[in-house]
Amino acid sequence: MLQEKLGKQVLVFDGAMGTQLQNIGLQAGDIPEEYNITRKADMVKIHTSYLDAGADFITTNTFGCSPYKMADSSYALKDLIQHGIANAKVAKAQVNREVYIAYDMGPIGQLLEPMGTLSFDGAYQQFKAQVELAKDEVDAFIVETMTDIYEVKAAILAIKENCDLPIIVSMTFEENGRSLTGTDPLTFVNVVEGLGADVLGVNCSLGPKELMPIVKEILDVARIPMIVQPNAGLPCLEHGETHYHLTSEEYAMYAKQFIQMGVSIIGGCCGTTPEFIKEATNASQQGIHFTPAVKKTRVSSGSKTVTFDGQVVICGERLNPTGKKKLKQALLEGSFEEVIREAIRQQEAGADVLDVNVGVPGLDEAKVMVKVVKMLQEVMNVPLQIDSSSPEALEQACRYYNGRPLINSINAKPSVMKAILPIAKKYGGVVIGLTLADQIPLLASERVDLAKTMIQEAKTYGIHPKDVIIDCLTLTASAQQKEVQETLEAVRQMKALGHHTVLGVSNVSFGLPNRPLLNRTFLTMAMQAGLDLPIINPLDFELMSTIDAFNVITYQDKESVAYIERQANVTVEKTITTTKGKMATNMDALNLYSCIMRGLKDEVKTLTEVELQTKEPLDIVQEVVIPALNQVGEDYEKGIIFLPQLIQSAETTKLAFEVLQSKMQGEAKSKQGPIVMATVEGDIHDIGKNIVKVVLESYGYEVIDLGKNVPVQTVVDAFLQYKPKAIGLSALMTTTVVSMKKTIEALHQYDNVPPIMVGGAVLSQEIADEIGADYYGEDAMATVKIVQEIIK
């Protein structure tokens, strides 16, 4: 059985397929997979040559067999795949030893969201189609030359959900040690192990020498066997042709070294030949050196991994609508921009992971959670902690999350564990276990017992104890003062047992004055007791500073590097305050009007406050803000200022509006609009739409931004849900103007559709008329005028 050999003995994979195909005549632009049908005998020969060289695995010639890529072929996908497998089988039947056929799955050839337009589900289908056709005929799947960890996730799920065959996953790294989409080796290992792959490794792009540091990095952390398939050296471009210069003898030396380092499977990629594989076979004779790395708790985004390694890991708590009116409102209105900003503020303040909770009554939690998770991972790289009591929301969020998430949470109730632990297992989630069942036990020992129950139960699902982080539950000092100590004691006991702990710190201070003081003190004590993951407000500088200080005193922050970096700024900040003081005097000469004209974002809030001392908010809008904006618009049209300056003024005005709006009452408070805006399906170029949005917002309009690559139905749904006063669509190219037209047609199936404005590089008034739009907005200022006409 193959499974039993993995990691127990060194196995040998075959070498390059492409290089062999070129040798028998493959030309640039030919579809290599068609050779499965047109050159069957040659294909069998290639497989045989690798088996003769000693390979234990041959790889089917199906690297490009995604339905997307094979749409170019005149042959059916099914035939390309089945003939590819059949050729390998013929070769296999000719040898008298146990060898395996690995079905080769390469990248789809289309980038996933948010980089490209392919959805995660779409990617899943591209892989599933192949799995269905191959699973009964092969011994394993190899997913290789992958550059995007999100695509890897889709592939693994597509295999795992449709068969039980072993999965080998191999990623390609650049010389800078990252994949093309920014994944580092540690993150790759953590995510792929979490998803339950059987073997992981690297191939292509570099030669063995250049791969060496990456291989080492992976072996240091991997707990499953590793495969290495290097190129025959770095590709060299000579007069426009790629050549590989490594000899099989040199390769042999590296192959031995890889095996000694702990690599379990060795093969070759571009430029390698049966000669190389013969050397790999020789090298494999020395026996296996693989030992799984020590298990550590790690969570990842697609490009960053946080390891629980003694240092306190800070979890930002602010993406949680409980008790936050503004966030609740933002989620209900679908204005996710505020949610994203709140997340970015926390990341910039030093949060290592972010809790995400979107539980608002009346919201489809699973749907909104997925939307928010996707939006967050589009712009930031801290790992996320998915926080919900709904198993459905957790499952959905884990599925579409790019990385290995924290899951908040389970408790010791059997029904809860039964619902959520399988999700954690399937997606590799590190799960938070609340030490409560029907109620919160008062004593530390009782909480520790519940923790043990959860860890034990998780084990039965195959979840490692390190992947359960225990929440010893912070009680409120104003209500249960005596029990606060019990929490700390429970943390101490869990630590002694070798488990990680988490606490929602600020619970301790509810109902008491000067809450920050209690929070800081409790946090310090909890960290001293062994707390790993405090869930806190990272925007509370004093609280964050407490952690900095703690890390110095406990010798975690060696030579106080982080402390000095952050706390030295405190002194600097004081100087800034003084400079700002000076600025304030200068600001006497400055007024809100000129501030907007000049786009002085740092000063605008103060100047708006100054205006508010003598004027009503609405008067300021009418007498200062709008005239200033009009002047800015006029200057832009005359060429006195150019685009970045227009946007600077617009963003400055938005800040003024924020201050003014907080002072407005009742109806005056509500913005004009809303206006729904979207970059249409198939188009990921949204900078133009974003520019128009900022300018519209600077005029006080509420914009609901649906983002880019927006399906027709999403625009229709937004029309029905928000009843906008206008809809703005943008498209960059003629091809996506087609989507624009479809969107307009779909909207016009309904009554009372508001005016539709369109814009984008290739649009013109004629095209706008042709596709049934009501207005053509040539640029941001023109769009403002249109909206002013629509919403009088």
Binding site: E241, I647, H685
Partner: protein, 210 residues
């Protein structure tokens, strides 16, 4: 040079620039250089007149290309990219600071041109034509579809191409470079964008005038 080109892409026509903006521009240039991971590749084709790439056997119906590369025997197709991290950064600034997003985006566009020029000089020496990219003049943008497949750019550079023939990562491009020949002045002659070209409206061009 990078800054000059970037300003042009932003629609700059000699407006007064304050210190804050110049600092932002400098910061973006530094950041783009730091984040970019320039990769390039090329193939060489003999040219048969009017304009057929011999190796690939494709004929390109472009008067501009015929005219510009009339005197050369060999043409290189160059493809390059600044990599995905630039796109990620652009997305980040689109969400956090629109002004910076615009400046960063323009600087990145200028930087990929700069890097590609440098690459061509390194590989082909200085005696070669300008780069003529699909989308320029009457060279069809859809030609990127063929180039993408023939040069295997997905594997070589990690590029992906959408239905509009635009690349991801966004700061990627291809172009034809005539070898062993002098540079000829570019012109707006057959450009399809002419009727609604922002550069022309502002009295400039998208390419550099000698």
């Amino acid at each position: 040079m990078i800054k000059e080109t970037a300003l042009k892409y932003m629609g700059y026509t000699n407006q007064e620039l304050d210190e804050g903006f110049l600092e932002l521009l400098d910061a973006c240039v530094e950041e783009v250089k730091e984040v970019a991971h320039f990769k390039a590749t090329y193939v060489i084709n003999e040219v048969e007149k009017p304009f057929t790439l011999k190796k690939y056997g494709i004929e390109i119906a472009s008067q501009d290309l015929i005219q510009a590369l009339d005197t050369c025997q060999e043409v290189a197709i160059v493809a390059c990219t600044l990599g995905m991290a630039i796109d990620q950064r652009i997305r980040y600034y689109n969400a956090t600071d629109m002004q910076k997003a615009i400046v960063f985006d323009a600087v990145a566009s200028a930087y990929v041109e700069y890097c590609c020029n440098r690459y061509e000089d390194e590989v082909f020496g200085v005696h070669h034509s300008y780069r003529y990219a699909p989308g320029y003049g009457d060279i069809p943008l859809a030609l990127n579809q063929d180039i993408y497949k023939l040069m295997n750019l997905h594997k070589k550079l990690g590029l992906s191409l959408d239905a509009s023939s635009l690349f991801v990562p966004m700061k990627s491009m291809t172009g034809f470079v005539g070898l062993q020949m002098d540079k000829q002045e570019k012109s707006c002659g057959r450009c399809k964008q002419k009727p609604h070209c922002g550069f022309l409206k502002r009295g400039t061009t998208c390419y550099k005038k000698n």
